[in-house]
């Protein structure tokens, strides 16, 4: 079993975090499908949103994955999008938010 990544959560947004992480898990599936479809405009949007919100929720790596995915989408680099999506998937499986 992989090591858990403990992330302290701001109490003011604690009730929003489960929904935020659930939406990112949906993004993982969407991104894989969109790469197959070659829809880089939609991929860019998802990356942009993750980049904007991740750090605010306390998950800086999500901002980093989002930025990398957005950048890769701009050049139509599907391999990088998939690689970053895999890393995002692993992170989401390992992350464990705890009351900060």
């Amino acid at each position: 079993m992989k090591e858990k990544i403990i992330v302290p959560i701001d109490p003011d947004i604690a009730d929003l975090v489960p929904g935020f992480l659930a939406n990112r898990r949906k993004d993982v599936d969407k991104l894989r499908t969109l790469v197959q479809q070659g829809d880089f405009a939609a991929i860019k949007l998802i990356g942009h949103s993750m980049k904007g919100a991740g750090g605010g929720y306390g998950f800086d790596p999500i901002t980093d994955f989002g930025a990398a995915i957005e950048r890769a989408a701009q050049t139509g680099d599907g391999a990088t999008v998939l690689a970053q999506t895999d890393l995002l998937d692993e992170y989401l499986q390992a992350v464990e938010p705890v009351a900060g």
């Binding site: 003011d12 942009h48 980049k51 991740g54 605010g56």
Partner: protein, 454 residues
């Protein structure tokens, strides 16, 4: 709490096509005691701004459909002073420069830092509060920022310069006397008295003597000569409140004053010239009173030279947050205590309450809340208690449309003296349809017909 974090009131509109981002920003603002509303697109934001003007807008730059830059341009086309904070995924200098040229208030890079954002928002809300509070010149002391009040005050300021007779209509408690005073204070008569008299609160005999004065011995108890309020206001302004309640007999006498600018004290055979500006007001529908014969038509036209309508509080809900703040500050000054504030839920509740008693009711509610709350923050429960838990009585769209339709039909019939053919033509309907509408609203066209009509 530091100075930077000190409580501010106001409303922020968040615009982002990412629901997670909207929820995050709304939670940050709520935790800081700031009311937030959200829009998921530029067009939704413009609709919300048209309904209820926020104090600050925070928008994402990169959105599907209308982007942040277009939204900024459209907001400033109708609300040039509304602060807009833009969030951008990338620190793109050309965008920031363009936004600056378009009048952006702040340009923040995503992921945005919570404290940076809150500091920006607080600074803009404080500036908005100050603009509501520190109004000087015309209307100093009148607290407003809504478009409907701004328009009214601009009109009133123009009237103040001249000497024209002003008639103020509006529901009870809307502040008609406050407006009358503002007009007087900005007029060339400001160095002379402003005298207000409530025509509905004084019995007819006494009102005549109060207004026009009396000679010694004019009636039982008139032991001394009394000059009357018109003469006391000489050179200044007399404010005749609740003019619709003035008895018919006295209306004739008032008409003479308006025609000749002379008063004849009770018991006197001679008239005395008087130089006053008359501002009158009523909560009644004077048109209806004229129609029913309870108010003289000739006097109505003399008084109603320039009509101003004071909006009800429910028509100027944008002003409620700054009014709450204003009266909380006044309470604190009077009580020599620390100023209290309403929590976010309480402000939201008060902003949507029905307010049948208008500003007078709001002042009473603020006084009660500020007096009975021990801590610094007034909770929702206290606000509800102050309004006796009356739920918001917002009309349904159908009720509002029906009410408008009825009012419209009545006004058209009044104009046409009950002539249905003409009324139907003015309304753009055929006679059959028009009769059907009258039937739906139980309106009898015959009751509008005078002796000289069809």
């Amino acid at each position: 709490m530091s100075e930077a974090q000190a409580a501010v009131t106001g409303k922020v509109l968040l615009v982002d096509d990412d629901p997670d981002m909207l929820r995050l920003l709304a939670a940050w603002l709520k935790a800081a005691g700031i009311v937030a509303q959200a829009a998921q697109s530029g067009s939704e934001a413009l609709s919300q701004i048209a309904i209820s003007r926020p104090d600050v807008v925070i928008t994402d730059l990169f959105m599907e459909g209308m982007d942040g830059m277009t939204l900024l341009t459209q907001i400033h086309a109708s609300n040039p002073l509304l602060p807009v904070i833009m969030l951008s995924g990338q620190a793109q200098i050309p965008d920031a420069v363009k936004a600056t040229h378009l009048g952006i208030s702040a340009f923040l890079t995503k992921p945005v830092d919570r404290e940076t954002l809150l500091t920006e928002v607080r600074n803009h809300l404080r500036a908005a509060e100050a603009s509501g509070r520190e109004r000087t010149g015309f209307g100093a002391g009148v607290v407003y920022r809504s478009a409907v009040m701004t328009e009214l005050m601009e009109q009133a300021e123009l009237l103040a310069q001249g000497d024209v007779t002003v008639f103020i209509s509006g529901e009870t408690g809307t502040g008609k006397e406050v407006l009358a005073r503002a007009i007087h204070q900005a007029s060339p008569r400001r160095e002379h008295p402003f005298i207000g008299v409530n025509c509905g609160a004084i019995p007819e005999q006494l009102l005549e003597s109060e207004l026009f004065g009396h000679e010694k011995g004019a009636f039982t108890g008139a032991n001394t000569k009394h000059e009357g309020l018109f003469l006391a206001a000489d050179g200044g302004t007399i404010f005749l409140d609740e003019i619709g309640d003035m008895p018919l007999g006295l209306q004739v006498k008032l008409l003479r004053v308006l025609q000749d600018f002379e008063v004849r004290p009770v018991g006197s055979t001679r008239t005395v010239p008087v130089n006053v500006r008359i501002i009158s007001a009523t909560h009644n529908d004077l048109d209806e009173l004229v129609q029913s014969g309870e108010f003289r038509e000739d006097l109505y036209y003399r008084l109603n030279v320039v009509p101003l309508r004071m909006p009800s509080l429910s028509e100027r809900r944008d002003d409620i947050p700054i009014l709450l703040e204003h009266f909380l500050r006044k309470h604190a000054e009077r009580a020599q205590s620390r100023k209290k504030r309403f929590d976010t839920e309480a402000v939201e509740y008060l902003c949507t309450a029905p307010w049948p008693g208008n500003i007078r009711q709001l002042i009473n509610a603020v006084e009660l809340c500020a007096t009975l709350t021990k801590g610094e923050v007034i909770p929702l429960a206290m606000a509800q208690k102050a309004l006796r838990d009356k739920p918001a009585q917002i009309q349904t769209l159908k009720e509002a449309k029906d009410a408008f339709e009825k009012k419209y039909l009545i006004s058209v019939l009044r104009i046409t003296n009950g002539n249905v053919a003409t009324a139907a033509r003015l309304a753009g309907r055929n006679r059959t349809e028009f009769y059907k509408l009258l039937g739906m609203h139980d309106i009898d066209a015959a009751s509008f017909r005078g002796a000289d009509s069809e």
